[in-house]
Amino acid sequence: MANDTAVQGGPLIRVEGLRKSFGSHLVLKDIDLSVNQGEVVTIIGASGSGKSTLLRCMNLLETPDSGHIWFHGEDLAADRVNINRLREHIGMVFQSFNLFNNMNVLGNCTLAPITLKKMSKAEAEDEAKRNLIAVGLGDFINAPATSLSGGQKQRVAIARALCMKPDLMLFDEPTSALDPEIVGEVLNVMRDLAAEGMTMVVVTHEMAFAKGVSDKVVFMDQGVIAEESSPQEMFTNPKLPRTREFLSRYLED
């Protein structure tokens, strides 16, 4: 693994001076953020604050205008970096699941390992089954992706990302498209993942999750990181009035 540059406890991914604009609208203004190995960082903030864009920049689904994203000793934002190779180490889970509709559950999980890691079909399927059982979907391996419920789809999406054995997992509002009853099943999977020591960056509106699971909470407002602190501090004693306002419903007195 290319883990050698990231010392245990050191930053696994480091964002420096990141800028991104859509047309004339500057969405990210000089973002600095570092995520340590084994850390769970949640990004919270109002809609339009740029948190999803920041996350999508971290595996280059959005191309930054300027700045650096250091991962495994390489700058993802540099021109003509081999992004495909680096993306193999970064798993991503989307709000709208994005399971491959032309495949069944097993096919979703084995496509990338077989194509990119040159694993044999049997080997990839064993690994996929292990991950699917871990997310509680061992009975659904042959189901078409389109036949699953939202919560099941999202758990398959997590298993699919895990099959590449990533060093870092990015979650882009993974529960926003789910009804309140099945949000729990996805959050439980994410909790287990965090407990196993996975490095995670999670954009979410689930404040209980941010508070309970994360090591660091980042509050974004209008394209900048307004406040960055431990969950205890963020949810008991935020420094900025804007943070206080945003979190007013969740603050404990």
Partner: protein, 408 residues
């Protein structure tokens, strides 16, 4: 199918309210048949009394229907409680009588229409010069020249089927050129090749879709002819190699390629961009994501519109008769040239084309359902571009939605 049969069976054997509504039309049809001239093959000619009975039975039925209608109009509100036609014994009797109406009309139909047709046919076949009647002239000409027409049909089917298949393969290749996008990991050579490919596909599509196939056929035929002449071959040698059929096949393939490419592109662009993002986020290259994830879904989206291309080609191959391809249109023109009966022969051609397109459409519909996509009905053939437009439109609106989410 079985369920539909069972429903029809129930409809027939159960008493229901609307028995007069449809059967009076059938009865009127039967009366109309009985007023037509008897042909020499008519079997009712020797059973005149029976035919009179049928006639009066149908007239009686019409009268009964009229009485029922008048009663219904008078007693609009309380017809259900009041009318004798809604009481049990009479309802059943009327239902059985309605079967009789169908039977009487069927007998009259066979006697007048079918036996009449056979009579005209046998009379026309016995003629040694083209008869003047519309139907008998058609029968006479088709009988005398069915070889030519059959050859034309085979050529038309061959041109359109093979042309569509070749065009499908070419369109898949071309659409790959068309949808290439510069990726940031590409080097300069790849960037240049991708841009050149996109440009070629765009120019090809614009030129081919912007010129008539008739002109393309002429250009291709005479260009091929000229090129072969440059190699020193004689005209008859060229004619053996560069046949009009081959020139026509090349024309229809190259023409259809452009349309199918646009259809495929519409299907591919309608695939949710999230599918591509998910594949890319796992580390798949643009090419791998396209081949494994986006393209299979895009082709599936495009299948209804793609299969319509065969129907379009069956019809449009008719313009290739200008370069002398012996298709159905050319065969028809040939027969017209012999007998000088334009309306009759072009009517035959129209019916044959209609049959071919309906059969093709039915087969393709079965094929599409086999792949579990909703087929497009034949009626929307000419709206093909509009359909693709909406498919692509849906895609792009989803995309803009996603963009908004991304900013959120």
């Amino acid at each position: 199918m079985l369920e539909r049969l069972r429903r029809f069976g129930r409809f027939v054997v159960e008493d229901h309210r609307y028995v007069f509504l449809g059967t009076s039309v059938v009865a009127a049809l039967g009366v109309w048949f009985s007023m037509q001239r008897r042909s020499d093959l008519s079997f009712l000619r020797s059973a005149y009394a029976f035919e009179v009975c049928l006639y009066w039975f149908l007239m009686g039925w019409l009268a009964l229907s009229a009485v029922a209608l008048v009663l219904k109009l008078i007693h609009w509100k309380d017809y259900a409680e009041w009318s004798p036609f809604r009481r049990k014994p009479l309802v059943t009797v009327v239902r059985w009588l309605s079967y009789g109406v169908w039977a009487a009309t069927a007998i009259l139909f066979v006697d007048r229409a079918i036996m009449g047709f056979f009579s005209v046919t046998s009379a026309a076949l016995a003629q040694d010069k083209n008869p003047s009647g519309f139907l008998s002239s058609i029968v006479y000409m088709v009988d005398k020249s069915y070889g030519i027409i059959l050859q034309g049909i085979l050529t038309t089917v061959g041109l359109s089927v093979f042309g569509t298949l070749i065009a499908f393969v070419l369109a898949i290749l071309l659409v790959f050129l068309r949808i290439q996008e510069i990726d940031r990991s590409d080097n300069d050579a790849v960037r240049f090749l991708k841009s050149a490919g996109v440009l070629f596909a765009k120019v090809y599509s614009t030129v081919v879709r912007g010129t008539p196939m008739m002109v393309q056929g002429m250009l291709i035929y005479f260009t091929g002819f000229g090129l072969l002449k440059g190699t020193g071959m004689t005209v008859s040698e060229i004619g053996a190699v560069w046949t009009t059929f081959r020139a026509g096949l090349v024309t229809i393939s190259l023409n259809s390629t452009a349309y199918m490419m646009e259809v495929l592109r519409g299907g591919i662009e309608a695939v949710d961009p999230g599918q591509n993002e998910a594949a890319r986020s796992l580390g798949l290259s643009q090419w791998q994501a396209m081949i494994k994830v986006v393209f299979p879904q895009g082709v599936k989206n495009a299948i209804p519109a793609l299969s319509n291309e065969l129907v379009v080609n069956i019809k449009d191959s008719s313009v290739l008769s200008v370069i002398g391809v012996f298709d159905l249109m050319f065969a028809t023109k040939t027969v017209v040239g012999i007998y000088f009966k334009q309306i009759e022969m072009y009517a035959v051609a129209a019916v044959v084309y209609l049959c071919l397109t309906m059969v093709a459409s039915w087969l393709l519909g079965k094929f599409a359902r086999h792949l579990s996509v909703e087929p497009q009905p034949l009626t929307s053939v000419s709206d093909m571009n509009a359909t693709v437009g909406t498919v692509a439109g849906t895609g792009s609106s989803e995309y803009s939605l996603d963009m908004k989410k991304a900013r959120g």
